[in-house]
Symmetry: C2
Subunit: 333 residues, 2 copies
């Protein structure tokens, strides 16, 4: 398997990308990684790392999209960015997957521009895995598609279900629709129509109905469907709330302790680490004919390495062929 890794993506690039790539190559002998970025800079960093295997190569890109840059501007002004080159390589079938911790909007926009969609997929969406009381849940879409229709959300349920089954290992994933109340008929037209598709179509046995914001973290469903605006807000509010609360908790709790403060501090750090993206394998852009894994901007080497290994799992489990097969056999709407 061959992966294009956006060497310049992320808040601390390129260092964690190069270190993470080397770690993944050492863990998986079937992997090849192409680091995409300014050749000279990447070459000297690889040399400095002491790595000299032949499964790591470099594809030159003269431009870099900033983390805060407006995606539409970046795409117009930087046709030779590391993100663009990654996607061009996937479109040309030179790689099986694209992994980037760069500007999410630019990664998505650049990918959608290739129109490299799986057959019958209307709109790709980003599926993120969140921790819950019950273990984990997949939330989709978290921002790839800001103007979703019921048929798009329905397809997210198909894709999310397959992803949860194959990657999270949930035998029969429960599908929930994010909504502002649990009763049927809640929300606006988009959610009411999606509810109908889910409760009447081929996924009806997996559908557990509307799930409120609280229910997400209580593990009421394994796959939670919503449109990109709502999903993005859910994701970022969760991050913000978690940071705020962990900060407050460590201040208050550590302040209450005397002799055992160091032990508690270590427990807080362990916990913080566990609930960060660093441990997970990134979020796939599902619906693409190929593999695209989006990593958090703050990804460290461990996180990048996990995302590279995650791409291999994605391929091995045949997620794309399962999605295409479902859409061909059980079309809805």
């Amino acid at each position: 398997m061959r992966i294009a890794l956006d060497a310049m993506g992320g808040d601390f690039a390129p260092e964690p990308n190069i270190t993470g790539a080397i770690a993944a190559l050492q863990a998986d002998p079937a992997l090849n990684v192409v680091l995409v970025g300014p050749q000279d800079q990447i070459d000297s960093q690889i040399e400095a790392s002491g790595y000299c295997g032949d499964r790591l190569s470099v594809a030159h890109a003269t431009q870099v999209v900033g983390m805060e840059e407006k995606p539409t501007d970046a795409m117009r002004q930087k046709p030779d960015s590391s993100i663009s080159i990654c996607w061009k390589m996937m479109a040309a079938r030179e790689v099986d997957a694209v992994v980037s911790a760069g500007n999410t909007g630019a990664v998505v926009a650049s990918g959608l521009k290739t129109r490299l969609f799986l057959k019958d997929v209307k709109r790709p969406g980003i599926a993120v895995t969140l921790p819950t009381i019950a273990g984990h849940a997949v939330l989709m879409d978290v921002g790839a598609n800001p103007s979703a229709r019921p048929s798009h959300l329905y397809q997210y349920a198909i894709m999310g279900e397959i992803y949860a089954r194959e990657v999270l290992g949930v035998e029969v994933p429960k599908i929930g629709l994010i909504n502002i109340g649990s009763e049927d008929g809640k929300g606006n037209d988009l959610y009411r129509d999606t509810y109908r598709l889910l409760s009447e179509g081929p996924l009806k046995d997996n559908f557990v109905g509307n799930v409120e914001g609280r229910g997400l973290y209580q593990g009421e469903a394994d796959v939670l469907i919503c449109e990109g605006f709502v999903g993005n807000v859910v994701l970022k509010v969760s991050e913000g709330m978690a940071d705020f609360l962990m900060q407050e908790a460590s201040k208050q709790i550590l302040g209450s302790l005397d002799t055992e403060r160091d032990q508690a501090k270590r427990a807080f750090m362990d916990m913080g680490k566990r609930y960060r993206y660093h441990e997970t394998g990134g979020a796939p852009l599902l619906g693409i004919d190929g593999i695209c894994i989006i990593c958090h901007g703050s990804s460290d080497a461990q996180s990048i390495s996990n995302a590279l290994k995650g791409s291999a799992t994605f391929k091995d489990r045949g997620i794309n062929s399962q999605i295409a097969e479902h859409l061909a056999q059980k079309p809805v709407a």
Copy 2:
């Protein structure tokens, strides 16, 4: 000041409502509370409490709306519910305020049906106060209006600004628009059009632009505007995430301790208490010609008492007349 309190609202009703009412009456000699619910049941509870002042009375209601009941069904089937009677009393100007910890959807639907709107207000909205790193922020709307237009969101900014100034005591409240990116042009038409109204209209000096989910808890703005679906999800995801994280943190951190476990446990309990609704004075439905304070279903007596006192503050600060004045003098859209 005279307040109708839905005696039957909340998960633990009527006990916390009666105890909370008595506490508020003892704290504020200018207050009168009308407990709305089944006369016999309320009378015997008041008698059991030992309270015999004449500022507490009962208004009989034969029906009770369940916490999980569908609001539209409840309104049709239960015209004599405690919630309906509260609103009828406000419409008849027999009370200045309605306070309820009951079914939020039913409280809002019943209130909107009275059409008891402040002059020029298009749609009332619920403003909830959330803790942030910087102190507090007002989020509006969290679910009263599921089909908001830019002009509605603009009015929420006006109402939220006045509320934050008068109740939270922020001298010049910063207004932010919840969005999926910080740049101008982000989101869908609703948010782009609202952005334009906020950045060009009379509130432009207070407007700090788009605020992402993370920014909410980092205190980037004092007043955060969004439509009801998004606001409701933000609120409930925050609650769910906070419960989940506090549960995990107390398990992990207490598990790491030996001799100082009890101290840490107390610190966790103090913190949990501080960040619950119990301490705040409930969430006003702003835009009503009258006062309506919605309390969390899990409200205890302290929380109900705070909401009753909050209603008095709301009246004393002349929030409604300030809203009406602003709308009359600086209409937009």
